[in-house]
Structures are given as structure tokens and as C-alpha cells.
Symmetry: C2
Subunit: 282 residues, 2 copies
């Protein structure tokens, strides 16, 4: 089994703490621009941030990598901190909410700038630190083949991807019943992202609630997903599911789901299959 | 040339006015749930509507068909009015913001209910009134093949489609520079919607700012679009562009754009091509 990965947030002022964690930890650490991090100013996070007050639809607003690219001093300080930590362990950098190849190129250019600054200052770092992106907008999903040729790994952020694909704010009680991972459109997008990542031979993981939902695990495995980003309390349950099924069973489930045309049908099928294959777990 | 189409909004109280317009008009009339209509409560329209006050992201909230499906008394009154008008002219019904096949099926079921009510009341209507939907969420675009088998025409709402695909609120000055129709992801979605509509042999039109932008007309024609929903002041200019180019030129442009990987490249190419082919118009 691959070593467990931890995700950490990081900026210059946390540098000492990050170094301690990296050097003491037995685990691989994704020192990442995570959804929980300062760098991924999700619309539902830090609502007190100054510009949010003026945004009518913060979920479609200035957040995550967009915020970073418009606040270069802060962004460069964070990149510098991650790069300095990168010589101490298995560090990788992941950028959130990248929607277009242009944005990824711009981000990589800034990263190169910061590397050059470190070179000039004689500061050590890992020049081959792997660079990944979150795939969480339909736009990124639809251009995954191009993006995959320009980075080292994908992390599919299903929560946001579902939200944008269906145009449904999952935090809005008036429409949250429309929010579902079992939508044919989402299954089709996921399938195409996985295909593009495999074709470009880059890593892919899935995060978001779907990855921690036992009903979806067999489907994800059947679609080719092999790395899941889990909520820690769910690890034992998901492990149990994975150990109880064969890949052939999962492949069969994925093939069946691909033929279905409604959320209700997919949801019922996944529930029934889960109960049939794993009566003790559900 | 096909007769010019007008779009009207309609509800029971406007019934007399609608009948007058339909019977007096020389034009075909799409008596539609249009983006400008009461029925398509766009997030940027009628911001005083009660529930909007509680929505953090109205663009991803309770609007358009979602609002109708949760307010059946109002919705049925509107459908009844449109159906009553349908025996007077070339009336069609178009539902906005349909995101899933399930939603379309639910909507059609309610329409059948209203038709049965009219039958019982002995009120005349056209039982074959054509039913169409707006394709304006990535979800609808990705499942267009399934949706096309369940309706008579598509109207591609590019403004919202771009917005959701890129996760960019075009009314937000902090990110509006990221909003563009020239994104490879959008071109790919458009191509696939057009393909699915053609395969199912249903009509397709394109509305939104793109349809009124001379730079995009040749691309749209080359991708197979033949009906455009225009802002009236743009009709002479767009007519001029269409009359000045051949379909072969347009096809060539569409093939070229399909190979491009960035918004900047596509935008520059469309601008340069427009100037080259139509120096007098640009």
C-alpha cells in the first residue's frame, strides 16, 4: 500500500512548523494549496475577506488561484515557503480552481520566477517538485487532455465540479436537492478526466464527499480511480468496502452506470448493488 | 429566408394581449419562457424576489424552471395561457435552465396535466405545440443527446453556459476578464451540442451575446449553426457578415479553432480572420 498522504497548508510565517512536520512525519506530505488552506479562498471560507462583500455570487468569483494571481506578493511568499520546504520531504504543489490552460501556464511562470529568486539567493529547494492542479470546473474537466500535458497530477474536486456542472449551490436549501454526484453529466465528465489523465500518464486522485461515500467507491474504482482523498473518520469503512470487492465487480458497475440516464436510476442502482455485494457494510 | 421569430412572455393576465399580438403579427412567434420573461427568473433579474434575499449565490440558486417546478400554481397558469394561445399561431414553448433529463420529464408531465385540464374544460389548444429547452448548464450540454430525444428544439444560452462552464460570474468586475466565449472548453461543448441536436434531427438556435458578435458568426456557421437569436440592433451587421462569406470559409475557420488551446489564440485568430475576410465590416 502506498504511504498515507497528508495535506498541509503553508505560508512563510508557518515555515518552521512545516519543516518540523515534514521532517518528523513518517508519511508523505502533500504540501498543497488545499481547499482548506488560505490559498484556496473558497467562496464558503473566510467570508469576511474584503472583496467578498462586493460579490453577488462568490462561488463564481475571485477565489483560489484567481485570487493568488491577482495578489502576487502573497502568492510568491507562499510558493517560496513551499519550495524551501520541498528539499525536506516528499512535497508536491497543487493549485486549486485552475480553469484554463492559460491560467496554468501563468501560474507555472510565476513558480519559475520564484525558483529563480531562490537560485539567486542561494536557497536550496527541489527543482523537480511535482506540480498538480485541482480539476473542479467543467472547463478544466473538458480541457483535461491539454492540462494533463502541462502538469504532473490531477486532483478531481468533486464538490465544486458537481456544483458548477449542475449550476447548483449545494449550500442553498432551495436547490440542494438537485445537487447529486449520481448525475449522468458528472459521470461522463469524470470518465473523460480519468481517460485524459491515464493517456498522459499522470497521477489522478478524487476528493470531495463522493470519495468518502461508500456507495460511490465501487463506481470510482470501476472507472479507474486508484487514489482517494478521504475524510479521516471514513478511512476504516472505505477500506472495508475496497477489500470486499473485486475490480471485475467494480468494472461491471461502472459499465452499467454509463448506460443510465437519470440521477434516480443511478442512485438506486448504486444503493442496491452496495447492499447486494456488501450486506454487512450497508 | 425563414420568417423572423419574436419571443414573448406570457401569463394568464396577459392572455388577451398575447392573443392580439399572435393574431395580428405577420411573424412566427416563439411564445416562450424566455430569459427576459417572468418565468425565467434569472439571478440578475428581479433581484427583489423574496427568496433571493436568502441566496448567497443566486446564479446557482432557485431560478427559471427550478422556480416554476416549486411554484406549480403559477407555472400551470402560464402553461395554460400559452396553450390557449397556441391555436392562434405558430407558438412554441421553451423551458429555461433545464439541467437534467429528470427535470425535463417532470416539466413535460406537468404540461400534460395542464393539457388534460384544458381537455376537460373543452378549451382548444394545439396538442402538438413544439416543446424546446434552453441549453445553458454544462450538465444539459453534456447530456444533450438524451435531452434531444425528449424535446423538439434546443436554444443554446451561451451567456449562462459560459458562466457555469468557466465558473465565472460575468457581472463580477474582479473576474469578468476571465469570462470569454473563445475558450476551448466552450467550443468543445458547443460542438457536441450541435452534433447531438443534428443526430436527433431537432432544431437548434444560439442566443446570448455570442450570437450577436460579428467575430463569432463565421465560427458558429462553420460549426453548423443556422439559426441565431439576435439583439435587434445587430441584425443589419450580422446579415452583412453572413452574406459576405461562404460556408466553406466558415467550415475552415471552425476546423482551425478546434485545434487551438487557449482563449487568446482563438480570440486573435477570429479577429484577424474577420478583418481579412471582411475588411469593410471590421
Amino acid at each position: 500500500m502506498a504511504p498515507m498522504r497528508l495535506k498541509l497548508i503553508c505560508c512563510e510565517i508557518y515555515f518552521r512548523e512545516v519543516c518540523r512536520l515534514v521532517s518528523e512525519s513518517a508519511h508523505t506530505i502533500d504540501l498543497a494549496f488545499t481547499p482548506k488552506g488560505l490559498h484556496d479562498l473558497g467562496a464558503d471560507k473566510m467570508p469576511s475577506a474584503e472583496h467578498y462583500a462586493t460579490e453577488t455570487n462568490p462561488v463564481l468569483g475571485l477565489r483560489s488561484i484567481r485570487y493568488c494571481l491577482q495578489n502576487l506578493t502573497m502568492f510568491k511568499a507562499q510558493l517560496r515557503a513551499i519550495l524551501r520546504a520541498s528539499r525536506l520531504g516528499d512535497i508536491r504543489i497543487m493549485f486549486p480552481l485552475v480553469s484554463t490552460l492559460q491560467e496554468l501556464r501563468q501560474t507555472r511562470m510565476i513558480l519559475r520566477d520564484v525558483m529563480e529568486d531562490l537560485d539567486e539567493d542561494g536557497v536550496e529547494y527541489n527543482p523537480k517538485v511535482p506540480i498538480g492542479i485541482m480539476i473542479e470546473t467543467p472547463s478544466a474537466a473538458l480541457t483535461a487532455a491539454m492540462l494533463a500535458r502541462n502538469c504532473d497530477f490531477f486532483s478531481v474536486g468533486t464538490n465544486d465540479l458537481i456544483q458548477y456542472t449542475l449550476a447548483v449551490d449545494r449550500a442553498n436549501e432551495h436547490v440542494s436537492s438537485l445537487y447529486s454526484a449520481a448525475e449522468p453529466a458528472l459521470i461522463r465528465l469524470l470518465r473523460s478526466i480519468i481517460h485524459d489523465a491515464n493517456k498522459a500518464k499522470i497521477g489522478l486522485s478524487v476528493c470531495g464527499e463522493v470519495a468518502s461515500d461508500p456507495h460511490y467507491i465501487m463506481l470510482l474504482l470501476g472507472m479507474g480511480v486508484r487514489i482517494l482523498s478521504l475524510a479521516p473518520p471514513m478511512i476504516p469503512e472505505i477500506k472495508q468496502v475496497i477489500r470486499s470487492v473485486t475490480i471485475e465487480e467494480c468494472n461491471h458497475i461502472a459499465r452499467k452506470v454509463a448506460t443510465m440516464d437519470s440521477q434516480r436510476q443511478i442512485k438506486n442502482y448504486l444503493r442496491d448493488t452496495a447492499i447486494k455485494i456488501l450486506p454487512e457494510a450497508f
